[in-house]
């Protein structure tokens, strides 16, 4: 009888959903001779179904179970062993009969090809899945040839701006200097984005192999992965992967028996969003305050410790091995002419299938949300999708047919960004969202440029005023003027793009701003000071629950009598609304 393999997804999101309980239970049972092979893997991307367990080696082939409970899993394995479809939440099967198979249909996996498939802590498993073959291939080529392939592939930087990667590499390669560096930017600070975390947790060797290839092409002998310290598992997997790669001769002296030498270090970030900007990141590696510096000189000429330096983000590096293995032509067949390849997105917010997806460029936003993402989470209608985090913008329903490529997304006023995609429904207030992002950029502004430091503060003050119902009509023009000046007067991307969330919401949702300013009303019922709570007499049974929780005692009424809220004293806290079990309080 062939042995069954049980794979448990134990990346950060799986663990948070309880995957470790499942794994530990299976581990105990395996030891007592339950007769299956137990493996750990990372995130397959369907975070909303975590914990996920994959079963293979039985008659039914590979199947995946979602939202697995420790009390059921042993029965499920037994059913599978007997060739029966487990009485569980089957999400994926080989015959595409699972409840979630359709979500994978539109996806193309280049960057995430191994995520949720291999054991990220095992270099042997990576090699068994074709790992380090690209490096072996590259070592037989000239460095120029490698750069030519990357140039031909049309790969554009996945960090957000979309600069052609091959061209960037050629600058660093041509720069004069005995010592050069390559850096992987894993300082994923965008709230609402977790592509890099999942990639590093799930397939660290793929990123490392990409970096070794880049170092060879550009003539660098030392590299850094600058990783957010908030991602402890990513850091752990990277450290292990680097040690294993060294042991196997892929890193260190005389790589694969040649005279090519390359070492790789991890630098943990210390919590500063601006360090995602490449010049600030270099300052931070040098142990200084992470403040951007004027370019030129560009890092390719004078970067880390004054040496030519090339910085790419995690996803860009993760594309390299596939391009080398399959060739530039194959890569160009995916995606669009101007933006070849795929893009990884982190879907979150009010969407049913939140998680990590990889789709070919050129797909429409509508397909991402309704096909790959499984549509909205509740019956509330779609309102907007936020792309690009604090530097991006909100794209409304009327533009859902926009295709995903650098140029089309930029035309909407949002940016492709690194891949955060937060879906919003009618219960999201767009003015509040704009204020939320401004609050973020205001906190994270390094303070070097006046307009970014003070301008964002003034914008935040205005937005806060509007959400409190104290806005004036001239505030809208003030926001536009400040936005224009901040964009012009800031040195780095953080400041230049900080007004985008405000500009796009003003462009597509001006009516919501006007409702807040003129009617003192929040259409999405989010901004607390603008909400009015009233008791619906027909529903109230006089249970006194609301009166008891009211912190300012402004609800009057006796037992079994209809209660009344004194509007002059109400502080709009919503405690009564949450306490009422009879839907007898209206919010509006």
């Amino acid at each position: 009888m062939s042995k069954i393999t049980v794979k448990v997804g134990v990346a950060s999101c799986g663990v948070a959903a309880g995957a470790m309980e499942v794994f530990e239970l299976l581990e105990q049972n395996r030891k007592t001779g339950a007769g299956f092979r137990l493996m750990r893997t990372a995130c397959i991307g369907m975070c909303f179904e975590e914990p996920i367990v994959e079963l293979s080696g039985g008659k039914l082939g590979n199947i995946s179970l979602g939202k697995v409970l420790p009390e059921d899993i042993l029965n499920n394995i037994e059913e599978y062993r007997q060739g029966k479809m487990p009485t569980a939440n089957v999400i994926l099967t080989e015959k595409h009969e699972g409840s979630r198979d359709s979500l994978l249909g539109e996806q193309t996996r280049i960057v995430l090809k191994n995520c949720g498939v291999i054991d990220p802590t095992s270099i042997d498993d990576y090699e068994a899945h074709g790992g380090y073959t690209a490096l072996k291939k590259v070592m037989k080529m000239s460095p120029e040839k490698v750069i030519e392939i990357i140039k031909d592939s049309g790969l554009r930087g996945r960090g957000g701006a979309g600069f052609p990667t091959g061209l960037k590499w050629s600058f660093a390669a041509q720069a004069k200097g005995a010592k050069k560096y390559v850096i992987c930017n894993a300082d994923e600070g965008d709230p609402g984005a977790f592509m890099d975390r999942s990639t590093l947790e799930g397939d660290p060797h793929n990123v490392i192999e990409g970096m070794i290839i880049g170092a060879y092409a550009m003539g660098a002998d030392e590299g850094y992965v600058y990783c957010r310290a908030e991602y402890p598992m990513a850091v752990k997997h990277l450290k292990l992967a680097i040690a294993d790669a060294q042991r196997k001769g892929y890193l260190g002296r005389s790589i694969l028996g040649t005279n090519f030498y390359f070492t790789l270090h991890i630098k943990e970030g210390a919590g500063a969003f601006v360090c995602g900007e490449e010049t600030a990141l270099i300052q931070s590696i040098e142990g200084k305050r992470g403040m951007p510096v004027i370019r030129p000189p560009f890092p390719a000429e004078s970067g880390l410790w004054g040496c030519p330096t090339n910085i790419n983000n995690v996803e860009t590096w993760a594309n390299i091995t596939w391009i080398i293995n399959h060739g530039a032509e194959e890569f160009k067949k995916i995606g669009t002419q101007e933006s070849p390849g795929t893009k990884v997105f982190a879907l979150a917010g009010k969407i049913a299938g939140s998680g990590l997806i990889e789709v070919p460029m050129g797909i429409s936003l509508r397909d991402i949300i309704y096909k790959v993402g499984g549509g909205m989470k509740s019956e509330k209608p779609f309102k907007a999708v936020q792309m690009g985090g604090p530097s991006g913008g909100c794209i409304p329903a009327s533009l859902l047919d926009t295709t995903v490529d650098y140029d089309s997304i930029n035309a909407t006023g949002a940016i492709m960004g690194s891949g955060g995609m937060v879906v919003m429904d009618s219960s999201t207030c767009m003015v509040d969202v704009a204020r939320f992002f401004l609050n973020f950029t205001q906190n994270e502004s390094c303070g070097k440029c006046t307009f970014c430091r003070i301008g964002t503060r003034r914008m935040l003050e205005i937005l806060t005023r509007i959400t409190k119902g104290q806005g004036a009509m001239e505030d809208i023009q003030k926001l536009r003027d400040l936005a224009a000046n901040i964009t012009k007067g800031s040195l780095c991307g953080l400041g230049q793009t900080a007004p985008n969330p405000v500009l796009t919401t003003l462009r597509y949702f001006e009516d919501e701003y006007l409702a807040h300013i003129q009617d003192k009303r929040c259409p999405a019922k989010v901004c607390a000071p603008l909400l009015k709570y009233e008791i619906i007499p027909d529903h109230c049974i006089g249970c006194t629950a609301c009166a008891r929780v009211c912190p300012v005692s402004c609800i009057s009424g006796k037992v079994k009598e209809i209660h009344l809220i004194n509007q002059d004293q109400c502080i709009h806290c919503g405690a009564c609304y949450s306490a009422c079990k009879f839907n007898a309080i209206s919010k509006g």
Binding site: C47, G192, A270, A272, I285, G287, S354, G420, C446
Partner: protein, 158 residues
């Protein structure tokens, strides 16, 4: 009397010869002392022969560095976009009331908990999310908060 920081000497020595060491060095000192006091920063500056302002500048720039004593357990409440649109504010209010923190207070009187806001924990599909020490809790409602905190309040009295 000046506090004795000689226990930091080995850390400082270990880093002395490497370039770009300040951030990891401060991280290690913080791991040892729990936070970076002004005296500790002055001591490091003296030993490394750099201006204390350089050390202070770096320590205040990065959110990871704490300039005040921290509670035994760090409770991180995620304020990322996905959590924000999933009512993370209510989770924060529930944490504050369960921990009896008023106004801008972030650490409980008994030094057991420190509450901090973080930009994003990267578990957006489980929003709203909090992280206590290294453990992440997702799909939260305000009602779940007291029970979660209870697990940490007991069992560490020793």
């Amino acid at each position: 009397m000046e506090k004795d920081f000689s226990q930091l000497d080995t850390i400082i020595q270990a880093y002395q010869t490497k370039p770009g060491i300040l951030i990891p060095l401060l991280q290690e000192v913080q791991n040892l002392l729990g936070y970076l006091s002004k005296d500790a920063m002055r001591y490091i500056a003296d030993k490394m022969q750099v201006p204390a302002a350089d050390i202070y500048g770096v320590a205040t720039f990065y959110s990871m560095f704490k300039l005040k004593p921290q509670g035994k357990h760090i409770v991180r409440v995620c304020k990322g976009t996905a959590c924000h649109v999933s009512d993370a504010d209510e989770i924060k209010d529930a944490l504050k009331s369960a921990l009896r923190l008023q106004g801008d207070e972030d650490t409980t009187m008994d030094m057991k908990f420190t509450l901090v806001e973080v930009a994003c924990l990267g578990c957006c599909s489980l929003a709203p999310v909090i992280m206590i020490d290294d453990t992440t809790f997702g799909k939260l409602t305000p009602e779940l908060i007291p029970g979660i905190l209870q697990r940490y309040a007991f069992g560490d009295e020793q």
